[in-house]
């Protein structure tokens, strides 16, 4: 079931990889693969967060701004404000979780639509980041090398020379495994899936749906906050007016490509990661092989649309085929 849902996107992903390999011999170079893996990991983390919200049938448009807030907040606290590392990290984590809590409460207690709540968030958090930084770039300069290796570090693998696993991949791996485990094996994951499909039925079964929904938004904001931290550790600087712009859309697109339905209740963490990888690979492909870099988003948009349309058509064909098969089976014994 899970596999089938992600089959199309996985095939598409491999097709893009093969195409790029044939167009550029450098695609498979270990340097490029490392870069690609690191970017996929960074976007994959925020996409998984968004997937949690999408599972509940909600949406989070504020992801990019939370990335901005934490991405600017951490270096600002560390360098400009001179906080200690643990307290700065704690502050970023608390603020991110607080944002998720706020979203969740506004949505479940006041019944305001997720789209509206998080749209306000999109505007606010970036504004706040621009406010406290005074609209200035913040960064680590030459310091915090150890901390930065969380994002830029490479982990040598045994038996493989010349290729090392970018550190963010470890984060992604751990988060993805935890997320998949949470959604598929724990009772809370089951509750999320149930309420995403029918909030009422879940509530009538004694599930505290409000609490679970709030949890999903907290997870989403926390992962966005973590993403922001890793982004700024990777790039070393963050511009508050730029940092994380449109990332919510990339994350949502990755989740949708990966098989999450915006109607709620469906999730495949594996698919979400492939979705994020596909988007990054497309961008990589365009820089590697084409001179029309500014057409980048036209191409990504078109591929995304083609993927979604193909998926829809395939679904329809499958249903039709299954129907025909069922009928045949039915008529045979008669």
């Amino acid at each position: 079931m899970q596999l089938k849902k992600t089959l199309g996107i996985t095939l598409l992903f491999f097709a893009v990889c093969i195409l790029t390999t044939s167009l550029s011999e450098n695609f498979l170079s270990s340097y490029n693969l490392e870069n690609l893996l690191r970017r996929t990991a960074l976007f994959g983390i925020i996409s998984i967060g968004v997937a949690f919200v999408i599972v509940t049938g909600g949406i989070d448009l504020s992801v990019g701004s939370v990335v901005c807030l934490s991405g600017c907040g951490l270096p600002w606290l560390l360098t400009t404000q001179g906080w200690s590392l643990p307290s700065a990290l704690m502050a970023v984590a608390l603020v991110s979780a607080g944002i998720g809590l706020l979203h969740g409460l506004l949505i479940t207690r006041l019944g305001i639509q997720p789209f509206v709540v998080t749209l306000c968030g999109l505007m606010m958090y970036r504004g706040i980041a621009r406010g406290f930084t005074g609209d200035q770039t913040v960064g680590f300069g030459d310091g915090f090398k150890g901390l930065r290796s969380l994002a830029t570090g490479r982990i040598e693998l045994p038996f493989i020379d010349d290729f090392a696993l970018p550190a963010p991949c470890v984060f992604l791996l751990v988060i993805a495994l935890l997320a998949a485990f949470f959604l598929n094996r724990t009772i809370y994951g089951r509750y999320l899936l149930a309420l995403g499909r029918s909030e009422e039925a879940a509530r009538y079964s004694g599930i505290n749906t409000g609490c679970m929904t709030v949890l999903a938004y907290i997870i989403c904001s926390c992962l966005a906050g973590l993403g922001g931290v890793l982004f700024v550790l990777d790039v070393n600087i963050a511009q508050p007016s730029d940092c994380g712009n449109f990332y919510e859309l990339y994350a949502i697109a990755a989740a949708v490509l990966g098989g999450c339905s915006l109607r709620g209740g469906v999730s495949t963490i594996f698919g979400v990661i492939i979705g994020a990888a596909l988007m990054q690979t497309l961008r990589n492909m365009i820089t590697l092989t084409s001179r029309h870099q500014h057409m980048e988003f036209a191409i990504i948009g078109a591929v995304l649309l083609a993927g979604v349309v193909a998926d829809e058509l395939m679904k329809r064909r499958n249903i039709r085929r299954r129907a025909v098969r069922a009928l045949r089976e039915e008529s045979t014994p008669a």
């Binding site: 490029n32 830029t152 790039v235």
Partner: protein, 316 residues
Amino acid sequence: KPSGSGSGKKKVVFVSNGVDPFWTNAAAGVRDAGPKFDVDAETIMPTEGVADQKRIIEDLLTKGVDGISVSPIDPANQNDILNTAAGRTKLITNDSDAPTSNRLVYIGMDNYKAGRMTGELVREALPQGGAVMIFIGRMEQDNAKTRRQGTIDGILGRPEDPTRFDPAGTIIEEAGFKIMGTLTDNFDRGKTKANVEDTLSKYPDIAGMVGLFGYNPPIIIEVLAQAGKLGKVKVIGFDENEATLAGIQKGTVHGTVVQNPYMYGYKSVEVLSELIKGNTSVIPANKMIDIPARQIRKDNVDTFWAELKKTLGTAK
């Protein structure tokens, strides 16, 4: 890594810090220089700021280019990627320098100095001082920051100090001038227009307006024309947008400070091609190839424009 491109020509790439007509002029220089120095030359403009620039440089290193000329968005914090690039290919910087990195040479000018030149134009235009508003795309990037600070220091006639910083919201009253603030628009032209209009509403007696990003001055002219205040409010521009130059001709703009982006592009390709050949003599001792900014006023605008048309014309 050595180039793998099929044509056998060496490959050099010019990476801007964003998308702007300014960089289009630079791209013309890159295009012209390519055949001259027998290299495959290309220009790439990142759209999404510093993370995007990093991604593009990484991908270029993957692609295996022989030289990169980059305009770092925030040099102080980009040493990592610049040093990575410097380790894998010939790296030079343009427009904005990263002196602490391993770049081989810097081609460009000093934004602080160019800002001071702009400030001088303001003093000329407003000999008895007055209220001035500064417009800029963004405050964060390094070239914008120093250019703006240079402009403020130039207007106020302060001693040179590139490290000084006045926050955007403070009103600075010195030497007969009153700098009312700095308004940003994040490249949304509609917002620029609103900023200029709102300034006219807020300070009906504003004496001067300074547009520090290339697209700012034309919009200032546009708004002043609509408000019937052309000539009454002095306009000082930056860069060589056509409308800015036309304004100088007509007298509605006092003057502008131009860089020479065409030359940034051209020179970048030239220097990189020499470096690839192994000729390091193109690197001066101070590691800076200065392409100085110039002040354009009514007296030299015609010659400058004709020149500009000539260089850009050859590109087409």
